[in-house]
Amino acid sequence: MSSSKKIRVLVAKPGLDGHDRGAKVVARALRDAGMEVIYTGLRQTPEMIVEAAIQEDVDVIGMSILSGAHMALFPKVMELLKAEDADDILVVGGGIIPEDDITELKKCGINEIFGPGTPLEDIVKYIRENVNA
């Protein structure tokens, strides 16, 4: 029984793109919503993301990519999480991601993709409602 369970979220930028405006703004909004946000910064490989998620025992992984490398990197993260038996972690993505790719990504286990213009409130709400309590 938890007496003061806090939602812990890893916010990561996989790949090489340096546009972290969205990631930082989301990190800030989650903090302001009372969550503990672990921010890893730029240039994360899938291996680094999964390792950090495990050590930090997060409930959620949020990743943002604007470079178009999502189809290479997101599924890799899911694969590694499964290998670590950690695929109970809620995984969400954001960035410039075409509709067809979203379908594909959801098939491989990404729970939700938030496109440009998603209100911060929606992201907070989604996480609150879907974290494994």
């Binding site: 090489l16 793109d17 909004a29 178009g68 189809m71 440009p116």
Partner: protein, 556 residues
């Protein structure tokens, strides 16, 4: 004097009677109106607002100090701005085809986008390059790719802008080497390298080395170009990415000019005479959605830079005080919802840039919030510029909004507020020190967060996003990069590596190491190395070993 008093009294009257009566009955849409930079706006502006203005000192004439009205005497009456669309994707071969298509379409300058591994100095076969090869631009591993990229493009005839920063000196070396193979000597080359590392630390994220050695690479290119490439723009000091990262217009001007000051100071400290390089500095701004503030921003930036160069750096040549700039419409204002609306946004933003006196312009394509643009979208974007140029008459007289009570007031406000920021940054020891402290990053982040909150709370309306929404199925035809192009790029790289003279490469890399450890200019050693097909990744690795790598401060 009398006339001013008359207006003043009449204004008071109007406010107290006509206006206040109406407002009592029909309140205005909002209690207070602000620009994006939070400059408060009045109902109207009158001659009273610009009564302090000294026409000659503050505005002057086009082509003359302080260049408020434009940097050329004839502006667009002489020649339109350069219509330059940033492009380039996947492989050098495909990019080359796109370039030749754009030149056929009437584009007048080339603009090269590189993929992220190239921008961060990794070859396509590097572990971190996985999934990124050819994604946001063309992959360049060695001179071999550069030869394909510019195949059948006469480099003495076009001007080429390369969006490259941390490894800018190496890409410039490759460009020089390709031109030489075409029989074009480097003094004939026209173009720009972005070469602006400071904004990479604060906004764009494609840095490699720490600030010290990065600034040295930049001053090396300044020096080399001032001696060998008189027509080359050695840097494009960029506010665009600062704006895209979430800054306001005032911050964009302030932080960009603060970066500019740091570069000029570094070059002077490296022993260069200010007038030997300052005329080759160029700038790059965004054109966002606040119509008048943006126009005023361009004018304010131009005047402020002129004053800084003259008063702070004692430039003697007026050419050193001219701020020439490229503009791109703001990518962050594009919406994925109802993407065709973006054509309208881009049109207005492009018009702002023209009214603000830009030297060249990139118009975004409507589908860029969804993916890389298709050929059709790129064409509409280019046509937008052509319509403004050829149909609207917007370029037929110079600086047409000058003298507007409102535009002049806004221009003053922006200049003054930007100057206050610059003074604050000076007090911290200049832009590099302010970046190290995370000050600039934090200021930008605060504005980005405030903007997003305003949109979420609907105090700022974005059509199709938080109002006037429709249920839409995305049936957009977008461009995809074939994942096979990554494999083919890597195969070619491996083949190239196998067929070059390896002892030459080792020797050239060794020489780079020696020069990097000394104070000598790196450019000649870089040119020699690319000519023997040392790869970008190999060269950057040598420099990483000598210079170290930059790690961002935690600013959240």
């Amino acid at each position: 004097m009398n006339e001013k008093k008359e207006i003043k009294d009449a204004l008071k009257d109007w406010e107290n009677t006509t206006l206040s009566e109406t407002i009592t009955k029909y309140p205005e849409r909002k209690e207070e109106f602000y620009t994006i930079s939070e400059i408060p706006l009045k109902q109207i502006y009158t001659p009273l607002d610009i009564k302090e203005k000294d026409y000659m000192a503050d505005l002057g004439f086009p082509g003359e100090f302080p260049f408020t009205r434009g940097v050329q005497p004839t502006m667009y009456r002489g020649r339109f701005w350069t219509m330059r669309q940033y492009s380039g994707f996947a492989t050098a071969k495909e990019s080359n085809q796109r370039f030749r298509f754009l030149l056929d379409q009437g584009q007048t300058g080339l603009s090269v986008a590189f993929d992220l591994p190239t921008q961060i100095g990794y070859d396509s076969d590097h572990l971190l390059s996985q999934g990124e090869v050819g994604k946001v631009g063309v992959a360049i591993d060695s001179l071999a790719d550069m030869e394909v990229l510019f195949d059948r493009i006469p480099l003495d005839k076009v001007s080429t802008s390369m969006t490259i920063n941390a490894p800018a000196a190496i890409l410039l070396a490759m460009y020089i080497a390709v031109a030489e193979k075409q029989g074009v000597s480097m003094d004939k080359l026209r173009g720009t390298i972005q070469n602006d590392i400071l904004k990479e630390y604060v906004a764009r994220g494609t840095y490699i080395f720490p600030p010290g050695p990065s600034m040295r690479l930049i001053t090396d290119t300044f020096k080399f170009c001032s001696e060998n490439m008189p027509r080359w723009n050695t840097i494009s000091i960029s506010g665009y990415h600062i704006r895209e990262a979430g800054s306001t217009a005032v911050q964009e001007v302030a932080f960009t000019l603060a970066d500019g000051i740091a570069y000029v100071q570094a070059a002077i400290d490296a022993g260069l005479d200010v007038d030997s390089f300052a005329s080759r500095l160029s700038f790059f701004f965004g054109s966002h959605s606040d119509f008048f503030e943006e126009i005023a921003k361009f004018r304010a930036a131009r005047r402020l830079w002129a004053r800084i160069m003259k008063e702070r750096f004692h430039a003697k040549d007026e050419q050193s005080c001219r701020m020439r700039f490229h503009t791109q419409t703001a990518g962050c204002t594009l919406t994925s919802q109802q993407p065709d609306n973006n054509v309208v946004r881009v049109t207005l933003q492009a018009l702002q840039a023209v009214l603000g006196g830009t030297q060249s312009l990139h118009t975004n394509s409507r589908d860029e919030a969804l993916s890389l643009p298709t050929r059709e979208s790129v064409q509409i974007a280019l046509r937008t510029q052509q319509i403004i140029a050829f149909e609207t008459g917007a370029g037929d007289t110079i600086d047409p909004l000058a003298g507007s009570y409102f535009i002049e007031t806004l221009t003053d406000e922006i200049e003054q507020r930007a100057m206050e920021y610059i003074e604050q940054i000076d007090s911290m020891g200049g832009a590099p020190a302010a970046i190290e402290k995370g000050f600039i990053q934090r200021e930008i982040h605060e504005s980005a967060y405030a903007f997003q909150r305003a949109v979420d709370e609907e105090s700022r309306i974005v059509v199709g996003v938080n109002r006037f929404k429709v249920d839409e199925e995305q049936e957009f035809d977008y461009l995809r990069i074939d994942p096979a192009s990554e494999t083919s790029q890597i195969t070619q790289l491996l083949y190239m590596k196998g067929s070059r003279e390896i002892t030459d490469v080792v020797e050239a890399l060794h020489r780079i190491k020696k020069v990097a450890e000394s104070d000598a200019n790196l450019m000649p050693a870089l040119i020699d190395a690319v000519k023997v097909y040392a790869t970008l990744g190999e060269i950057c690795q040598v420099l990483r070993d000598v210079f170290g790598e930059y790690r961002a401060p935690d600013i959240l």
